[in-house]
């Protein structure tokens, strides 16, 4: 008798071939049979009318901190994601000496828009310094599988201390970094991440940006010797020439050391319509020469919400606003009540009083905003109040304890007709969700559901089977997760059962479940019936179970 048998579903094995009616049998943590009329199971799941697929893999997340208090990485699991890759963009939570924790928390706060309380509330649990210690700390409570990257900035900070943000490394320091990276890879890191764009809380470039190419080359050599592990980078994604230069550097490292590399994000934009096609053309040229350089592209359009309660990327281009939002709340409120400060803020927004910046934003409902304003354009409300746009943002926020959120709904990457063919390219890696980050700016969840609703059902750029492959077997192959991404006997029993006719992401909504009573935007899943992680039901019919069957799966891949 099997432990679990999933019956009557349309089995989509992850390899892109046609789905077929079959049962899936599981014993322990493994798939043991896929076929018709399999024997009985102690637990039987009826998947009639549903698709049965391998669990989805999310390659670009920042769940490093959330996994300390939420081993299911809610809500990604309910979207069918059974494996997440945190530690992107040069940032991880190990290796990290205790004395350097505040600096790294500041980087997460600055880059990923995560409140410091998300880390400090869990200091009691923060006993590790090395990578093995971090993995040991999160492992017992994992409901989802984790394949963490180790951050280049952390490696540099460990070896060079404060000098990591001052100068290039010496030969001896590079050798020490190589040795440390080797240890991290042995202790569970699936690869290395680095960044060419990010800043710390003081506005200084993060440590990885002080590395010369010689250092990155030496670290890539370690990735190569470890069997060809992943190098992930954040290039200067706002500029196509810079991104292409980084592609060429990655290609050089890939070919020299036999490693896969990936960069993120790549956005499509009406303002620069040739940018993404040029980037993908360069990737294609390098791939033809044998280089493995995987661009990550998200499925969802870009939108961003913000209030004056938190620093937001949306306001980073307005220096006075940005500085104000970095101040503690009582100071911020006092400053906003000063007419001189408000005048300076309004002046920051240009001669039109902020109409171009704020006029088309939508006032969100569900928080402190007056119900009469919810869902309306800020410009329209400002005119009604006889105020300029920036003046109205400040006034309405002040009148409501700053708890008024504004939504920039059209941030780009929204033309399905252009994006669909790019996503469908075999050289494009679906990713860049940023799960676990940018908590108060946008919900980073549900990109998988959106892939099916928008690009399978609405536009038809993918068949159901192609879409499943794109987020299962493809990322498993790219990242070397040989045990995952396919429904095949012998592999890990990570399975998602969903309704192909309804799977989607639900509307974005604020929740207050971040330690320190922090807020984040989230999205629930639609159309996902059951999610199994390593043979245990982790989510079923709208509820998470108590199962904690997740593992550090990069240790298995090593």
């Amino acid at each position: 008798m099997y432990d679990i048998v999933i019956r009557n579903g349309l089995v989509i094995d992850g390899e892109g071939g046609p789905g077929r009616r079959a049962d899936v049998a599981i014993a322990g943590s493994r798939i043991v049979a896929v076929g018709e009329d399999l024997g009985a199971g102690r637990h039987e799941i009826d998947a009639g009318g549903k698709a049965v697929a391998p669990g989805f893999i999310d390659p670009h997340t920042h769940f490093d901190a959330q996994l300390l208090w939420d081993g299911h990485a809610r809500p990604v699991l309910e979207h069918g994601v059974t494996c997440v890759i945190p530690g992107n963009c040069s940032l991880s939570l190990a290796p990290l000496r205790a004395a350097d924790r505040p600096a790294v928390i500041g980087m997460f706060q600055q880059i990923e828009e995560m409140p410091p309380e998300a880390f400090t509330e869990r200091f009691a649990k923060w006993t590790w310094e090395d990578f093995a210690g971090y993995c040991r700390t999160i492992a017992p409570d994992l409901g989802v599988n984790v394949a963490p990257l180790v951050g280049h900035s952390l490696i540099r900070l460990w070896v060079m201390g404060a000098d990591s943000q001052q100068r290039p490394a010496t030969d001896a320091e590079i050798a020490a970094m190589q040795e440390l990276l080797e240890v991290c890879l042995s202790d569970g890191a699936i690869g290395l991440s680095t960044s060419f764009v990010d800043m710390d809380a003081e506005g200084r470039p993060v440590p990885s940006r002080f590395a010369d190419f010689r250092e990155l080359d030496a670290l890539s050599a370690v990735l190569g010797r470890a069997g060809g592990r992943m190098l992930q980078v954040v290039p200067e994604f706002y500029d196509v020439d810079l991104t292409i230069a980084r592609i060429d550097q990655l290609a050089e490292l890939s070919l020299r050391h036999g490693i896969p590399t990936t960069f993120s994000p790549v956005f499509d934009s009406k303002a620069t319509p040739q940018a993404a096609p040029r980037i993908l053309a360069r990737v294609e040229e390098q791939a033809a020469l044998g280089a493995r350089v995987w661009p990550q592209m998200q499925t969802r359009p870009i939108d961003i919400s913000f209030s004056l309660l938190n620093p937001s990327l949306f306001l980073a281009r307005l220096p006075n606003w940005w500085r104000l939002l970095k101040r503690p709340l009582p100071e911020r409120l006092a400053a906003l009540n000063d007419p001189k400060v408000r005048a300076d803020l309004i002046a920051d927004c240009g001669a039109d009083g902020g109409a171009a910046i704020f006029g088309d934003l939508i006032i969100r409902g569900g928080d402190g905003a007056p119900a009469a304003y919810a869902g309306r354009r800020l410009g329209e409300v400002a005119a009604e109040r006889g105020e300029g746009a920036a003046e109205a943002v400040l006034a309405i926020s002040l009148e409501n304890g700053l708890d008024v959120a504004l939504l920039a709904a059209s941030g780009g990457h929204e033309d399905t007709g252009r994006i669909g063919p790019m996503l469908a390219s075999p050289l494009v890696h679906i990713g860049a969700s940023d799960g676990g980050a940018h908590l108060a700016s946008f919900a980073t969840y549900g990109d998988t559901g959106y892939l099916f609703s928008e690009f399978v059902r609405r536009s038809g750029h993918f068949t159901l089977e192609q879409a499943v492959k794109k987020i299962t077997a493809d990322p498993a192959d790219i990242w070397g997760l040989a045990d995952r991404g396919r429904l095949k006997p012998g592999l890990a029993a990570d399975v998602v059962i969903f309704d192909p006719s309804t799977i989607d992401r639900d509307v974005e909504r604020p929740v207050f479940d971040v330690p320190g009573e922090g807020m984040r935007y989230t999205r629930s899943a639609i159309g996902v019936q059951t999610v199994l992680v390593n043979g245990e039901v982790a989510y079923e019919d709208g509820a998470y179970t108590a199962a904690k069957a997740g593992v550090i799966c990069s240790l298995e891949a090593a």
């Binding site: 290039p168 470039p205 002080f210 010369d212 990155l216 810079l242 060429d248 053309a281 020469l289």
Partner: protein
């Protein structure tokens, strides 16, 4: 398939100032003129960055203008 020509770049050496980089990358031009050209081709370093002009060893520094602009 061969690689199509793309915008040429160099990366700064440790301690290298823009004038040093100009001398190395554009040896046929007067240093001051070459440094000014490099500044104008690399606004991500010389305009957008704070402090402006801080050269990092990881930087991509273009040593020619954008190709579309050059062709125009």
């Amino acid at each position: 398939m061969s690689l199509s020509p793309q915008r040429r770049f160099v990366t700064p050496a440790a301690g290298e100032a823009v004038e040093d980089l100009a001398r190395r990358a554009l040896p046929d031009r007067p240093v001051a003129e070459a440094a000014d050209a490099i500044r104008s081709w690399n606004l991500h370093i010389f305009a957008m960055r704070r402090p402006a002009g801080l050269l990092l060893c990881s930087d991509v520094v273009f040593v020619e203008p954008p190709r579309a602009a050059a062709a125009a």
